[in-house]
Amino acid sequence: MTASSKYRDLVTTYGEDLQLFRTGVRKFWFGLLVVGLAALPWAAAELGGNYLLYLVNLTAIAAIVAMGMNLLLGCAGLISLGHAAFLAVGAYTAAILANRLGLPVWMTVALSGLVTGGIGVIVGLPALRIKGLYLGLATLAFQFITDHVIVHAETLTGGANGMIVPAPALGSFAFDTDLRFYYIAAPLALLLGLAMVNLQRSRFGRALVAIRDSDVAAEAVGVNLARYKTLAFGVSAAYAGVAGSLLAHYLGYIGPDHFTVMKSIEYVVMIIVGGPGSILGSLLGAIFVTWLPEVMRFGEEALRSFFPHLVFPDLRAIVMGLVLILFIAFEPEGLAGRWRKIREYWTTWPF
């Protein structure tokens, strides 16, 4: 007999725990999400025209990056301070493939993901020997070295001038408007999100959490540290690579300025603001980091009257720095954590 509705949320078997959509309620909400996402661009276009849609697209791309970073930082506890470098690898790979080989978009994106994932595994190899802070330093070094290679390998990357990237196309249908691009970016982000949820619940995900808590204990229960750490880097990098390739096709042009250390820091802020370890956190962080500086634009003119040298990137950076510090100080579990606490509060309210 089925359990009474009161207990429907209780998980009684392991198999149930692994199921992606446990209850009918969850399936309903997910369906609503899909419908909402499909309708979103029309609403955005109504409200704010193309610029708003542009931000939505950027958010989708950022969400993909955040999900990858969250796997690394939130689950495995491995610090990446140079994640923009992975985006760069993905973006330039896509650009080169599209320009030199004329490959269609689905191939460039997939290949970029693979290539970047491969590089991620290689970068992850030193991670086996280096811990914590030192790993952060190493990833930062990787970022700067990548910066340097981008600027100096001119024949490959166009150097400081960057590269032009053709818009994504399927046959003769080009996704060259913001609205059309949305229907590549959003579904892809959704798909990758589902994949990440699955991954986190799998043996792989659990192994990563074990590693985060204690290397030594994890090894003691038979977790192959080497394999999982490098895989974590690989998957995380692959996500960033996919995001990078999407970015390249969307912007139509990439240059070294798109992948600076400041961008890497923004990705870290995304994770901290959203909340380490959760998919919801990735999304919330991506939204926050993409939209907050835009909101701050309203104050930009006012601020510029006091500081005539103010440029938007500075305003962005100030917001990022403040947000980072404030969230660490006051909201270390991020927005997702706060949301969880609010939900808990409401469900236990009478007590």
Partner: protein
């Protein structure tokens, strides 16, 4: 041969700057356990303060120098009190993230106030060079080396012959015991940040003098990281030596490697060295072995 000597000497000069930055890192790390990613930015702010004092307020170099040290020290103390101190019990990784946020803030605010243009630095040292045979050593390089030597000496005397300096060493070695003896660990932390900021300011003034004033100076400070790691994170002589080594390698690479591998190689070399050191000997040349206690 002359090129070698020339490159080496200019390498030592820039190495001195790296040493000072590395010194700032090590001071804070030793005492508080925090790796201050904003050390490069503190260096940058110091240089800008001096710049404004001299160009906008027409201060004499000596007065401006003193005022910069004081203002930088105050900034360091303020940062410690307002941002680090409330978070003192957080794990080191969290505090490092906070310093990254700080670095971002400092750089953006500096750009907001002064813009991101490049400025020529009002040098207290006359133009010209010292000539040793065929080798010409710019006076500013000599000045940098001299300041660094004097500073190192003063710091040594401070840490070993004054009570405050000894107390700072004590706190760095054993915070717990220091607290039990009634030493105010809080005050020592604040002083450490103030000192590191002032040191950074001196490094910044020297760097801006050697090259130019620009908001990217903080990134150059990051090139001192390999020096810190090479020196073993907690060793002051190690940091000084590490900085000189990095400077030398960079300079020599600039002369000998750049023509082969393309311009700018020497700039990224520091990070390649960092990666190599981290992978081969993360505890540096002087550091203690990292033990993992279970």
């Amino acid at each position: 041969m002359d090129t070698l000597i020339q490159a080496s000497l200019s390498g030592v000069a820039i190495g001195c700057v790296y040493s000072l930055v590395a010194l700032g890192f090590v001071l804070i790390y030793k005492a508080t356990g925090v790796l201050n990613f904003a050390q490069g930015e503190l260096m940058m702010v110091g240089a800008y303060i001096y710049f404004s004092l001299v160009t906008s307020l027409d201060m004499t170099p000596l007065l401006a120098f003193g005022a910069t040290l004081v203002l930088a020290g105050l900034l360091g103390a303020l940062v410690e009190r307002l941002v680090l101190h409330p978070l003192v019990d957080e794990p080191p990784f969290t505090l490092v993230m906070v310093t990254i946020g700080l670095a971002t803030l400092l750089r953006a605010v500096t750009g907001m106030i002064w813009s991101h243009d490049t400025f020529a630095f009002p040098s207290p040292v006359p133009e010209g060079a010292v000539h040793l045979g065929q080798v010409a050593v710019p006076l500013v390089d000599v000045w940098t080396m001299a300041v660094t030597v004097v500073l190192s000496l003063l710091l040594f005397l401070f840490f070993h012959y004054t009570r405050l300096g000894t107390a700072m060493r004590a706190v760095a070695q054993n915070r717990y015991a220091a607290q039990l003896m009634g030493i105010s660990v809080d005050r020592i932390f604040t002083l450490t940040w103030a000192l590191a900021a002032s040191l950074g300011a001196i490094g910044g003034m020297l760097l801006a003098d050697i090259s130019f004033l620009h908001t990217n100076m903080g990134f150059i400070g990051l090139r001192a990281f390999p020096a810190v790691v090479l020196g073993g994170m907690e060793s002051i002589p190690g940091a000084l030596l590490g900085g000189l080594i990095i400077g030398l390698i960079e300079s020599l690479a600039g002369v000998y490697l750049d023509p082969i591998l393309g311009g700018g190689t020497h700039q990224v070399l520091a990070f390649v060295i960092l990666l190599v050191v981290l992978m081969l000997r993360p505890t540096g040349l002087f550091g203690a072995t990292l033990e993992k206690r279970v």
